[in-house]
Symmetry: C2
Subunit: 351 residues, 2 copies
Amino acid sequence: MQAIDNQRITNYKRPSFVQVLHGQQTETTPVWVMRQAGRYLPEYMVLRRKYSFFERCQTPELATEITMQPLRRFALDAAILFSDILVVPQAMGVEVLLEENIGPVLPNPIRTMADLKRVHIPDVSDALHYVAQAIDLTKVALNNLVPLIGFAGSPWTIFCYMTEGKGSKTFDKAKAICFSNPELATKLLDKITETTIAYLKMKARHGVDALQIFDSWGGLLSPEDYQTWSLPYIQRIINAVKLEYNIPIIVFAKGASYALPELAATGATALGLDWTCSPQFARQMTQEKVVLQGNLDPALLLASPQVLEQRVKTMVSGFKRGQYIANLGHGITPNIAVEQVQRFIDTVKSC
Amino acid sequence: MQAIDNQRITNYKRPSFVQVLHGQQTETTPVWVMRQAGRYLPEYMVLRRKYSFFERCQTPELATEITMQPLRRFALDAAILFSDILVVPQAMGVEVLLEENIGPVLPNPIRTMADLKRVHIPDVSDALHYVAQAIDLTKVALNNLVPLIGFAGSPWTIFCYMTEGKGSKTFDKAKAICFSNPELATKLLDKITETTIAYLKMKARHGVDALQIFDSWGGLLSPEDYQTWSLPYIQRIINAVKLEYNIPIIVFAKGASYALPELAATGATALGLDWTCSPQFARQMTQEKVVLQGNLDPALLLASPQVLEQRVKTMVSGFKRGQYIANLGHGITPNIAVEQVQRFIDTVKSC
């Protein structure tokens, strides 16, 4: 395996990401990119051809190397540990396969009370030890020059995969369980929530500087169902983690900007936004109670340089400096030129 | 082919759908179901096994029969002509294949100015004569007892398919053209808009009682881009149709509830809502200027009878009688029991 090469990580010491999250004054707008260690990077593709997805996640040296890759190219203000939200159901005893170019497949989804017996709340320091090791290695590689984000899926989002058994446009099977067997749904969500709390606490203990909860499928729920099936579990995670750690927590509920007021009241430090939500709307909905993060349409990285620059400037000017972290509104896609990522970051920094 | 059987269409004379759209008082809440002639109906599946998708669309007797099928089962307040939004690009000279269980494929998408030369604005009364014939036949079958809706895709949504060449989660290629070659994007959108205007006028001329514009992919755009790439073209359609016909126009922009105030100002008679938008939010955003239509999560048809009934009642009570048409928040999915559709309709009627 390629040794971790620290030499090119210079020019960092950029605490603005952490400062903003701790409510301290900062002169510059911090920036990072969701899925910044991803398929648009040629050096990532080299490792992707060589190792399977879960080999990349579960080998601490590989996860560390992949985490570091975008930092060698770009002056990013945060690293995010390379991993996947589905390591959690895996650790809970549910088989997860990741088929390249297809997506996750869980051959034995949880749909009955009998299935639920197969799901356990693991000792995360055992079942997910490789994540802790990857954090330790990455912290050494980062040398306190760049803050590190750890993440997990929201319980609702993990529940979607565990019940549906694969990706879906509608996650009908997941919803059908909520609407027809709420006892089963609640019990499974409880187990996921307990595991996620222990998992995020472990990350905090190993020194990550912030946590992000991805509620990728929150936006498939109606506002009423969001209050029942997603929000309370996110709230429990925030309460439990905050009880022990003074660590900033970012919640990104894609497509659920209708829930911004309630999410702002959870005690989350920051809220991620997708691009369907204007800066003005987000500020109004959250009353400047939280830091906002986002939210450029990733497809704008396919724009002409002029359009990209102009749109990034408009975005940054719509938010309030010191309460804002620049990012995309969703993960970067594979078809993006690295020059355009550079342009995105440079433009944020020029604002 | 099975003859059109009108005998079971009794118990109609339900003008409430038309009354609501024309601002007249009505005692009951009209109800119909997006994709009500669809795969959840066993009698539709019989025809689906026998005829290809475009045979079903392009054979007036088949389109009529399929349109009538749900009306024989349910006391629906409107029929919607069985067709597909992609008959428009097909009529414009772009090949469209529909692969069952996969979706639409356009083998030669439009991505350059040279490609654009292949796209023409057809004489719709020639290229889409089968739609006019289907309307004529369906009007006879309906015998003025149930109003008929005709529909088209929004120019942005048709543009998505014509440029991307297939369905997509993100329609990156479509957006890349807008962001990097706005001249091409605008010219193609102009051609689609002109064709759609002629197409909807033809439907009005043949006697449909209302028109619905499906902006299925509007919600993939940011609010700013919606103002540029979708809204103006919808506005042009509404202006052009309203100039000649006093026909109600319903606009359903899925996922774009951020644009409700602007859509309410287009002169549209009614706005369709998906389920991520609460009745209260929609009423506030539109200031009761328009009729609202929607918006039950289609997955609630998988709920227990009690939950379904309770949720339908909550939905109906959130809207304003006389300014409201009950519907789902998106098309009904194939996995729904007909009894649950019956329950949905009965519950609306009981409110």
